[in-house]
């Protein structure tokens, strides 16, 4: 959020509604209505003094109204913009009384005369990221929500767990503010249900977020008893299966597969009684201290307005209607969706669909890329080499946040006496525009060459203050922040004297460090505008085309003779996409695009270079070529497990789902005329060897079953499953299959189906499948004409080799490991290399398409710049001190350090472009020869020594603890 807020080319308009949209792609006129927040945004610094003095309580929406806030408030502590707003409970707005906030605001930011404001913007494309709403269980009486105090939603519980939540991170019951010891979660509330008011689809995220809540609850209180009542456990996402088992194996945690009903509240204890049934014990009733309803994802309440305002179509569930296999596009050209409006999606899907939407906008607007972009111009940097440190210290009151606890004037007097300090002063809000200006002016006036800002955490505002120094003509690395808010005034609000002393200590340490700071240069690297895409399946082709459509050259290398990859073997999707026709179109578009250069039968021999400047050697159809490129996309797909179980490869009646699909498409009589067909799910995964779910097989099974039922309605079809994982809208097809009398039988991994070749009643050969039936409580024998196996999706056999070449990593399962599983799902930790498709993890075709656009979006973000900026805080080797031991080289996971031949022998040298500045090497070097700039030994030891020169900090801390 901070990054969005600070971005030169993003204007954030909060508290605004879209009124109307006119025009068409390339030239939309959008009318916005900005609601009055009664605060002048430019003047408000988010200090919350007004909140403290406001006399009117108002339910705290952010905390699910469990606790209350004030009528004037900041929505939540990290809100962007960090400014207050006044809600409808305000006494002045309601009754014209009270104007306390106006009086206490030292920045005169309150303005009760504000009215709604109409704003018109002219844009080329529109992205709808309107998100989802948690399902409201109050609409269904049986859940007791709103009637029983200790029935909460998972959203309520999320806030209870949070440090900024209603009870500061303590899990308490609303009825008596006591810790619940015995908590039940009820899954699929508002999801997978056809009762009126609820949604038929699977929300896809609740199983895993519940597991997270269970784990966090156990961390809060190791004694807590946690019970999860669930239907199928849908741990289909990357690393979800492991996570599920981690939660399940915790002591005191039970996962019970059962439908439930909330029976009653015990009047005295306010405990909640839940009724459920298990095959072993039959129907039972159990009492819980608290019941959490794992509510599903619901389309936004105003989604119907989207149709009117934006002219897009929605599907039957109220989410955006996907356009021809592309879940990011809508039915209206130039309008795209990202995140929850596509349907129930998790964070990674939201992120990659967001950058994918960016890519698709880019395809429309590429002809004018950069025309409206703004750039900052800074004054030339003053050379301070050889000067003694001249440090300026600015101590921020942060309104009352710091000033009401820490005696700011006394810290200023103290700072003035510290070595090298030539100026010290206090400021009301150092981050306010007038104070920023004051800092810039004083740097010039007093000839300051180092600046210490004693205020908040560098996480919030360091970027701003570095920018301030640049504005003042100083190198930005001369800025040092002393955190006297989060680490001082906020945690010691009751011990003013000690807090003041601690603030002085922190300032003294920062001043010591500042004296050791050196000017550092960030440097620009040129970016080669060509991309290399490895893998010519749907992912690789979609990504290549999107990049080419934005005007950049792409080399697409495919190991096979033809493009298409695994999709060549898939004929339909559940949603009815004709995969072969889609693929043919895609391949045609690739060949027709003059900017996409395809290499067939290609193998990558060598990769060298770094972001913006790679050189890759490719052997294709017997010829060797060298490709220079700025970005690389890895889209090498995945393979299918070849089962060793269930007579596969021994009996011609046994096949994989993929083979069954091919035979259905080919209308093979043996398959279509089969009287009885059995499918076994989870073959080769969700076991010790492969501890993950292949994600696509349940839908694949349902798809094959529905196709077969269409061709031969009489066929008896049995699907033997562990958990049916038809997540999202695919749930509807699962229900349809059940309605069409496809039989679903659940089995446990410790009691797997048995398969033997046999002869059926009619005397014909068959495969006999024996499976325990949990409902009938006996073993079922099924004589099948065809047995189809859900063979696992496994990592590509080439994954290791490709990972080695591009210096990227694989996860424990052998799939490529992204930079961050949630927040950076298409990037690698290695800059300039991106990831998409099933190389990342098994995926459905629409998810692959979305992922591929996401990778294209990230790559174009790099390619659209002429240069990339490398950080100044990187490592450097003092060659004279290097003893060539190689400790730094083995410590560096980024391969940023290498030996070089020098006249003095082999010496380590850092490639600053690859260095990420973690400084691990510095702690390994026996001779202090490798230095992390900005965090040098001198700077850090200086800080440590400064800590020691004062009277013992611990004595004061101890006094503070006693006071508390």
């Amino acid at each position: 959020m901070v990054e969005v807020d600070r971005h030169q080319n993003i204007e954030v308009l909060t508290y605004a509604d879209v009124d109307r949209v006119d025009g068409k792609v390339g030239d939309f006129k959008v009318t916005l209505v900005k609601k009055p927040r009664y605060i002048i945004e430019d003047k408000c610094t988010g200090c919350r003094t007004c909140v403290r003095y406001c006399p009117k309580e108002s339910p705290d929406e952010f905390n699910q109204e469990i606790s209350s806030g004030k009528a004037i408030h900041v929505y939540f502590s990290q809100a962007i913009p960090l400014v207050a707003y006044i809600d409808e409970n305000c006494l002045k707005l309601k009754e014209g009384k009270c104007d306390i906030c106006e009086g206490v605001c030292q920045n005169e930011a309150i303005d009760f005369r504000q009215t709604a404001e109409k704003i018109e913007v002219n844009v080329g494309t529109i992205i709808l990221s309107t998100g989802i709403e948690p399902f409201d269980p109050a609409t269904v009486e049986e859940y007791g929500y709103g009637k029983m105090q200790n029935v909460v939603t998972s959203m309520d519980f999320e806030r209870l767990l949070s440090a900024t939540g209603p009870y500061q991170g303590r899990i308490l019951r609303a009825s008596d503010e006591k810790h619940p010891r015995n908590i039940a979660w009820i899954q699929c509330v508002g999801s997978r249900r056809v009762t009126p008011g609820e949604n038929s689809y699977c929300s896809g995220v609740c199983c895993t977020y519940t597991q997270k809540q269970v784990i966090l609850t156990k961390e809060h209180d190791a004694e807590a008893e946690c019970t999860v009542f669930h239907n199928d456990i849908r741990a289909f996402g990357k690393d979800f299966e492991r996570y599920y088992r981690r939660a399940e194996q915790l002591p005191g945690v039970r996962f019970i597969r059962s439908y439930t009903s909330i029976v009653r509240e015990i009047p005295e204890s306010k405990n909640v009684v839940v009724r459920y049934a298990t095959p072993e014990d039959g129907v039972r009733e159990e009492e819980f201290d608290m019941v959490v309803l794992s509510v599903g994802l619901h389309p936004p309440a105003d989604n119907q307005d989207l149709i009117g305002t934006f002219g897009i179509e929605l599907n039957s569930h109220g989410f955006s209607k996907a356009h021809h296999g592309n879940p990011i596009a809508t039915t209206r050209p130039g309008i795209f969706v990202s995140g929850g409006l596509q349907g129930p999606v998790d964070i990674p899907e939201s992120v990659f669909s967001a950058s994918g939407a960016g890519a698709q906008c880019g395809e429309y607007l590429d002809y004018r890329r950069g025309k409206l972009a703004k750039e900052r111009i800074y004054p030339p940097e003053r050379d301070v080499t050889g000067q003694e440190p001249r440090i300026g210290v600015f101590v921020c009151h942060c309104g009352a946040n710091i000033g009401s606890v820490v005696n700011v004037p006394s810290t200023v007097d103290y700072a003035r006496e510290l070595p090298n300090v030539v100026h010290a002063q206090e400021q009301l809000f150092s981050c306010a525009n007038n104070c920023i200006k004051e800092i810039t002016d004083l740097v010039e006036e007093k000839g300051l060459n180092r600046v210490v800002i004693a205020a908040c955490s560098p996480r919030t505002l360091e970027a701003l203050f570095r920018d301030t120094l640049r504005e003042a003509g100083l190198n930005q690395y001369f800025c040092e922040m002393a955190n006297i808010r989060e680490q001082c005034s906020w945690v010691h609000s009751k011990q003013k004297r000690e807090a003041t002393q601690k603030a002085k200590d922190i300032i003294r340490m920062s001043v010591a460090r500042a004296g050791e700071l050196e000017p550092l240069q960030e440097f620009d690297l040129p970016v080669n505008k060509t991309t290399l895409v490895v893998g010519g399946g749907i992912a690789g082709m979609t990504c290549a085309l999107s990049i080419a459509n934005q005007g950049y050259q792409v080399h697409l290398v495919e190991k096979e003779r033809e493009l298409g990859g695994m999709a060549r073997r898939i004929h339909t999707t559940l949603e009815g996409l004709d995969v072969q026709a889609y693929l043919d179109d895609l391949i045609q578009s690739v060949y027709k695009n003059p900017l996409v250069h395809v290499s067939h039968e290609a193998a990558i021999k060598n990769v060298s270079g770094y972001v913006g400047n790679f050189t890759t050697v490719v052997e294709s159809e017997g010829r060797i070529k060298e490709i220079e490129h700025g970005a690389a996309i890895i889209a090498i797909g995945a393979d299918v497990y070849r089962p060793t179980e269930y007579l596969y490869g021994e009996n011609e009646r046994v096949m994989t789902h993929l083979e069954l699909g091919e035979k259905i498409a080919g209308r093979e009589e043996t398959v279509i005329k089969a009287e009885r067909l059995v499918m076994i799910q989870c073959v080769g995964c969700r076991n010790e060897d492969r501890d993950y779910c292949s994600c696509v097989c349940c839908s694949h099974a349902v798809n094959n079953a529905l196709k077969l039922k269409e061709l031969n309605p009489e066929m008896a079809i049995y699907i033997l499953f562990r958990d049916m994982r038809t997540y999202g809208f695919r749930e509807d097809y699962y229900r349809e299959a059940a309605d069409k009398e496809v039989t679903f039988i659940q089995y446990e991994p410790d009691n797997e189906p048995q398969v033997v070749a046999a002869t059926n009643e009619a005397g014909d050969p068959c495969v006999r499948v024996t499976v325990p039936d949990p409902i009938l409580g006996c073993r079922l024998e099924l004589d099948a004409d065809i047995l189809s196996l859900a063979a696992a999706v496994v990592p590509s056999s080439q994954a290791k080799e490709i990972a080695g070449l591009f210096k990227v990593t694989l996860n424990p399962d052998g799939f490529f490991k992204e930079a961050h599983v949630k927040l950076r799902p298409v990037e690698f930790a290695t800059d300039g290399v991106y990831l998409c498709g099933t190389a990342h993890y098994p995926k459905h075709i629409e998810e692959t398409i979305s992922h591929a656009y996401g990778a294209a979006g990230r790559a174009v973000t790099l390619l659209s710049h002429d240069t990339v900026v490398a950080s100044g805080s990187v490592c450097e080797v003092k060659e004279d001190d290097c003893v060539s031991c190689g400790a730094c080289i083995t410590a560096c996971a980024y391969d940023a350090v290498e030996f070089y031949d020098t006249p003095k022998g082999m010496k380590a040298r850092v490639n600053p472009i690859l260095c990420k500045g973690d400084g691990l090497c510095c702690a390994k070097c026996p001779t202090h020869a490798i230095v992390l700039k900005h965090f040098t030994d001198e700077a850090l030891l200086g800080q440590i020594d400064a800590a020691g020169t004062a009277k013992k900090i611990l004595e004061k801390l101890e006094a503070a603890v006693v006071d508390a």
Partner: protein, 216 residues
């Protein structure tokens, strides 16, 4: 900057400048901000530093490492409060352990001197095979690793401590062992080998050992 950047020197420097406790904060294990998992290196260093602290008579509980994420405000509060109480309970550094101030200073100086060597030993011998908190704990608390540390670092440390002590003034073997709390036979062994190498000289009259080179 990664918690793995915390050089053992930082820890001992903090003790040398009068801190009673050092708390290292790192990202949660297996949730590395980089791809390096340097918090495991910080954990290794912590175990090694604790081992060395014991060798110079300091309570190893004065050093602690806690792993937490940016969202773990509560955990930080708890960790800091618990550690503060712990250190308060332990009392002032050295004084609580019954170590005389000058000797403590000398010993910490001796430790800082051999840190380059400790880093080499860590690299060659002290890398646990599996990256997990449990595996690290088992590894570093095993008798085998403790013995290894004794063999590789203990001896170097003893010599470093003796050298630092002798820099103040020449001393007889008995006094050296008394001041440093060492076994007299151990001191004699080191003094004999050091005299052979010409590092110390022995004055028969005063029965004192002295440093041969002023800068050693």
């Amino acid at each position: 900057m990664c918690s793995g950047r915390v050089d053992p020197e930082f820890v001992f420097r903090a003790f040398a400048t009068g801190q009673d406790g050092v708390l290292i904060g790192g990202c949660r294990l297996n949730e590395c901000n980089y791809i390096t998992h340097g918090n495991y290196d910080a954990l290794s260093n912590t175990y090694i530093c604790k081992n060395i602290m014991e060798r110079i008579g300091l309570n190893p509980e004065r050093l602690s490492i806690e792993f937490m994420s940016g969202g773990d405000g509560n955990r930080l509060t708890e960790a800091v409060n618990d550690f503060t109480w712990k250190v308060k309970e332990l009392g002032p550094l050295g004084e609580a352990e019954g170590i005389e101030n000058n000797r403590l200073k000398g010993d910490l100086e001796a430790v800082i001197k051999i840190i380059p060597y400790i880093k080499l030993v860590e690299r060659e011998k002290l890398r646990p095979p599996v990256k997990s908190g449990k595996a690290y704990n088992e590894f570093f608390t095993s008798d085998e690793v403790n013995r290894l540390l004794g063999d590789l670092i203990g001896e170097k440390l003893t010599i470093s401590r003796i050298v630092t002590l002798l820099r103040e003034k020449p001393l007889p073997a008995g006094e050296i062992s008394e001041i440093l709390g060492l076994d007299p036979s151990e001191v004699t062994k080191h003094m004999n080998s050091s005299s052979r190498q010409g590092l110390v000289t022995y004055d028969i009259d005063s029965k004192c050992y002295a440093l041969a080179l002023s800068g050693a």
